[in-house]
Subunit: 139 residues, 3 copies
């Protein structure tokens, strides 16, 4: 019988950039005891986002962070800067990446590839806790 | 018992840019009477897209529109310009944003954050009606 | 009664760029015999991605490929180049597009618009087989 599970994962973003929380997700999914289904993660913020990326090379993460800092830079005279120079670029970087991820579950495992990790992409400078809604449906 | 609901929402895009249709989505979801589930929205076009963004500051929307106009500009001598200079940049901006959104439903509410709105991002100049397929599964 | 189906589609990417595999997806979905549901495709790689795009004009595909080659170019002195100059730009282009697609199924058909095709976006030069996980839930 198909059933569902829902949770809110709180991910600490102590600095801007990519934060791997794959283990948290894998653990929560494992505890639901399903073997086939669909996981959806949803970031409840507009100045942080989600990304599936290469999980082996720290240099790849630094390149990614530098790239988004370059194509959506701070301090360009945005009309919207209520919360400072990192406010509007945060929204732009969120728009360019993902607010949600959906990952099938098969044989009781997420079908992530060998080199794929699940990241919170924090775009603001102030350390903060981010809420990621998790939803699983399956058997 | 898990069940489904499907609908097509028609969103009027009278001008290019971001069009908030959060209320339409929230209303349709509420009418399905579910309390836990997963909503998926799918944009049936390649020159418009979907975005979850900051719903409070009009300046943020203007900055977003200006940003995408800058990184995927009109009139750069694209090979594909069958429908005019706004044809190919529309496809590029759609590729950089989202064709679909998935949002969990919990306690009979979408888990949207306080500042998150659901937007149609229209990339063409001619006013048009856009079809957004909505699918809800849950209890 | 709601049920699920899961499969891995292997898509051959003989060259970098966009590879249309809509027919493969449509065929697999049709064989599951459902009339209402939700399809999710998930790319199990970090140097290839998924995209829904214009399926009629070859020029649009060439423009798209040229655009991503321009905004995330090879040979810019990335810190991460373990696998060559096309390694890091591949991750960037994947981050800018989609790792997963969700498409509702209605009246036994995916709700793809007339001009929408499903593409694997290959970012590496070496010809390779890419694994796309497919998950369908519905009735």
């Amino acid at each position: 019988m198909i059933r569902q599970a829902s949770e809110t994962l709180t991910v600490r973003a102590a600095r801007p950039g990519l934060h791997d929380f794959t283990d948290r997700v894998v653990d929560w999914v494992a505890r639901q005891g399903m073997h086939e289904g669909l996981l959806t993660l949803f970031c409840r913020h507009t100045s942080a986002s989600l990304l599936i990326q290469e999980n082996a090379a720290p240099a790849a993460r630094r390149d990614l962070e530098a790239y988004f800092a370059r194509i959506a830079p701070e301090g360009r005279g945005y009309a919207h800067d209520d919360e400072g120079p990192d406010d509007m670029p945060a929204h732009l970087r969120a728009a360019l990446t993902q607010v949600h991820l959906s990952i099938p579950l098969r044989d009781a495992r997420l079908v992530l590839g060998t080199w794929q990790g699940i990241y919170l992409f924090e775009h603001r400078h102030v350390p903060t806790d981010r809420m990621i809604a998790a939803h699983l449906i399956g058997v």
